[in-house]
Amino acid sequence: MPGPGISRRAARAPLRRWAGSAGVSFVPMAWNPRYAAAGPPSTGPVSGPLPWPTRADMPYNYTTDLAAVRAIVQRYAVQAGLPENRAIDLVLAVSEVAANTVRHAKSPGSLKIWYDANEIVCQIHDEGIIHDPLAGRRRPPVDAMGGHGLWIVHQVCDEVEMVSDETGTTIRLHMKLPGHR
């Protein structure tokens, strides 16, 4: 398994992870190289970026074929050794994020999945923009007629990273694998 930071492509555009409460960060500007000169927040990154996926079927671009998106996530989850109940969670989370693409973005979304010995990561990118930095962090009332999607994502994943600016939104979902360090 390649270690963190080995991939040249990963070094080019790392989605930085800062130490944050519950391991969740909203770093709207860190993604954009134009803001990189300002330097990282004082807490500093807690780990390096993961290598980008190199498989031929990545990224997987989707429009409204969410069942296919779920099938791919399921396949990778099994391959990576994610237990069945956590695979259910990851499939649900990715589907919810991809559903937001269908709802809000005017263009297709793309999905990348990769894993190492410690975790499996699903990254979803689309051209939609999330303005609320706390999107998905507040529990909606049970009978609310919307707003459950991102909240569910935050509930089921071990870590969620969200980056959104005028170029679009990238969301990384992390799930720890059994026997992770």
């Binding site: 779920r70 109940n85 649900l92 269908v102 049970v142 009978d143 007629m145 919307g146 569910i152």
Partner: protein, 131 residues
């Protein structure tokens, strides 16, 4: 007033891409109820259709609407909202909604959102019909 079609049994079976919705009029101990079976995968891409089908059942103002989820492999939050909407509409005219036999992925979203505390969930249709 509860409208029951003259012939009890299958009304229609409509495929919505990945989703199949089957509606039947049933009876339990003399009490009529509507049984809706949702099978396949329900997500934002077929929620509109699902909502339309459920709305047309709700408009009949059944005393009891039972939704059998045993054939549903997946449900996302927009499909859940369709169910919550049915629950709310039925509530308004004194009807009852019950869910039956959700698979693990569906049970998970019901539990996470605590929708399973708002809508009763049963193991079998017979249990649900018996209340």
């Amino acid at each position: 007033m509860t409208h029951i079609p003259p012939e009890s049994g299958l009304w229609y079976n409509k495929c919505v891409d990945l989703l199949t919705v089957t509606v039947a009029a049933r009876e339990s101990a003399g009490e009529p109820y509507t049984l809706v079976e949702i099978a396949g995968e329900a997500d934002v891409t077929n929620t509109e259709e699902l909502r339309r089908l459920l709305d047309s059942e709700v408009s009949e103002e059944p005393r009891m609407l039972i939704i059998d989820l045993s054939g549903l492999r997946f449900m996302d939050s927009s499909a859940l909202h369709a169910l919550l909407r049915v629950n709310r509409s039925l509530d308004r005219h004194g009807g009852v909604l019950a869910l039956v036999s959700p698979q693990p992925a569906v049970a998970k979203i019901l539990r996470l959102t605590t929708a399973d505390r708002l809508i009763p969930v049963f193991d079998t249709v017979a249990d649900a019909a018996a209340g």
